[in-house]
């Protein structure tokens, strides 16, 4: 089996700190994401997992430390470079964050046309059909988000992320609020996406079934710090009570 650690680093986070007022959310986090790796960030609610990935796309600005996405350093990044970072990086939000006032097709078109205005109508339609096929919802094109179930919304959210062909995908709790069957389907979709598009992903989760299915490597966050990094077996066999509280 190929050792992912030998792959090129696509995201390099060093000593990242982020506070909200007096509350330290991230307190010196250092972690790297390699090419074609699924890195799961595991931790309790409020441990700073979502804040970490929001810092990666500059939705939140970090206080200290550095985040490097590809060749771009995010500290004091200019607007043009930030556009390039966001072109490379897809983000699947916890609630999918589909635009309520737009149909599924318009949601997908919006994402595509905002990043690249050079596509013709035919190309856009082809891409939309292709990406809806990939997430297993070829007939959802004309539906409004309110007509979709939670699992379908996540799939369309993923389609919207995939349509711009990102090199990195950030998943914010992709299986939260879903039933075990749909949750399983989403986990399989994450793996299928990685196999097909050869992208790297950071997956925020506290759903152990999802973690077991998708993780190449796990980083556990506790009190704003990285508590442990390793592969699944290292976590499962660890006797640390905090780690075991997740895995048993």
């Amino acid at each position: 089996m190929m050792d992912i650690k030998e792959n090129k680093v696509v995201i390099d986070i060093q000593n990242l700190k982020k506070s909200f007022g007096d509350l330290k959310v991230l307190d010196g986090v250092s972690i790297q994401l390699h090419e074609q790796e699924n890195l799961v960030i595991l931790g309790k609610s409020g441990s700073g997992k979502s804040v970490l990935i929001k810092c990666i796309v500059n939705l939140l600005t970090h206080d200290e430390g550095s985040i490097k996405v590809g060749d771009f350093e995010l500290t004091d990044i200019n607007e043009e470079d930030l556009i390039e970072v966001r072109k490379k990086t897809g983000f699947l939000f916890q609630g999918a964050a589909l635009y309520d006032s737009m149909t599924v097709k318009e949601n997908l078109m919006f994402a595509l046309s905002r990043l690249d205005k050079s596509f013709s109508k035919v190309e856009i339609n082809t891409k939309i059909n292709e990406v809806l096929d990939n997430v297993g919802l070829p007939d959802a094109m004309d539906k409004m988000p309110s007509e979709l179930s939670g699992g379908m919304k996540k799939r369309i959210g993923l389609a919207r992320t995939l349509i711009v062909n990102p090199k990195i995908i950030l998943y914010d709790e992709p299986t939260t609020g879903l039933d075990p069957i749909t949750s399983n389907e989403i986990s399989e979709l994450i793996n299928a996406t990685k196999s097909k598009f050869k992208n790297s992903s950071i997956i925020i989760s506290h759903d152990i079934n999802c973690v077991k299915k998708v993780a190449d490597r796990i980083a556990m966050l506790k009190d704003g710090k990285i508590y442990k990094v390793g592969i699944l077996d290292e976590f499962v066999n660890d006797n640390d009570p905090y780690i075991q509280s997740f895995f048993k």
Binding site: V57, R86, F91, G95, A97, L98, D100, F110, R114, L115
Partner: protein, 275 residues
């Protein structure tokens, strides 16, 4: 006199209460200035984005349609009632002074100068301001605004600027429409007791109206529109993260916009008075 321990404790408690009151006031003052700074930064951002090459014209037209379409029914009903009520209420006083012939002109001036712009703006503050606050607030809560940013779309440019401009353009148009409907309502009111043709009523009404009555009213309604758009969008865009924030944003948009409209009206009236 020597203080007993009990009195000393009471004095200490009073001192503590006073200190906590002072720190409460201090905190509120700091928060007030932070809020002012936020509003200034927001206004700066909006105005900067108005004059950008990336103007979202399609979204602007959509918002103009939404604002006009959403409010026209309500404004028609309110306009006609305002015209009717003004006429019915004013008639007895004018009859008493033998000045019934002045009724159309008086009502027309009242509607054009004050009632039309203010009633339209207040209705739109309720209807459009709350809808902007709720829509943007819900987009904030459900991370749609974040999703937009990640898709390389400036939310100020896409969401706020078209809404503010659409409100600024549409409120004066709705005001002129409300004026027309209100004057028509007044004609209906006159015809409840008298028999006056529409043509004669209009002649009497507009013989009293001058350009100076219409222009300031239209100008102030542009400001009313800007206030409704800016406040509605500000409250929605800066809504908190929980679902209750959506309600708070919508409610706060209406209350703040209504209050500001009255203040802007007062300022506008003072300026018009000087002219």
């Amino acid at each position: 006199m020597i203080n007993t321990p009990n009195k000393a404790t009471q004095a200490h408690k009073k001192n503590l209460k006073f200190q906590s009151f002072i720190s409460f006031i201090k905190e509120k003052c700091i928060q007030f200035f932070i809020d002012i700074a936020h509003v200034i930064a927001y206004l700066k951002l909006v105005f900067k984005n108005v004059f950008t090459k990336k103007f979202e014209f399609e979204e602007f037209l959509k918002q103009c349609y939404q604002i006009g379409n959403k409010s026209v029914g309500l404004i028609s009903i309110t306009g006609i009632i305002v015209g009717l009520v003004l006429t019915i209420q004013s008639r007895p006083a004018l009859v008493e002074f033998g000045a019934l012939a002045m009724l159309p002109g008086m009502v027309a001036i009242s509607i054009i100068r004050e009632m039309g712009p203010v009633i339209t703006a207040l209705i739109c503050a309720g209807k459009i301001g709350s809808s902007m606050g709720a829509e943007l607030g819900s987009m904030r809560v459900s991370e749609q605004i974040d999703a937009m940013e990640v898709s390389n779309t400036n939310p100020i440019n896409f969401l706020i600027v078209p809404r503010v401009l659409a409100a600024t353009i549409m409120i004066p148009i709705l005001t002129l429409y409300a004026d027309a409907i209100g004057i028509f309502g007044s004609w209906l009111g006159v015809n409840l007791k008298d028999n006056l043709s529409l043509e004669l009523f209009m002649n009497q009404a507009f013989s009293s109206v001058e350009f100076i009555d219409i222009i300031p009213a239209v100008i102030k309604s542009f400001f009313f529109g800007a206030v409704i758009g800016l406040v509605g969008c500000y409250k929605g865009y800066n809504a908190g993260r929980g679902t209750e924030s959506v309600g708070i944003a919508a409610n706060s948009a209406v209350v703040t916009a209504s209050l500001l409209l009255i203040i802007v009206d007062l300022i506008a009236v003072q300026i018009t008075d000087l002219l």
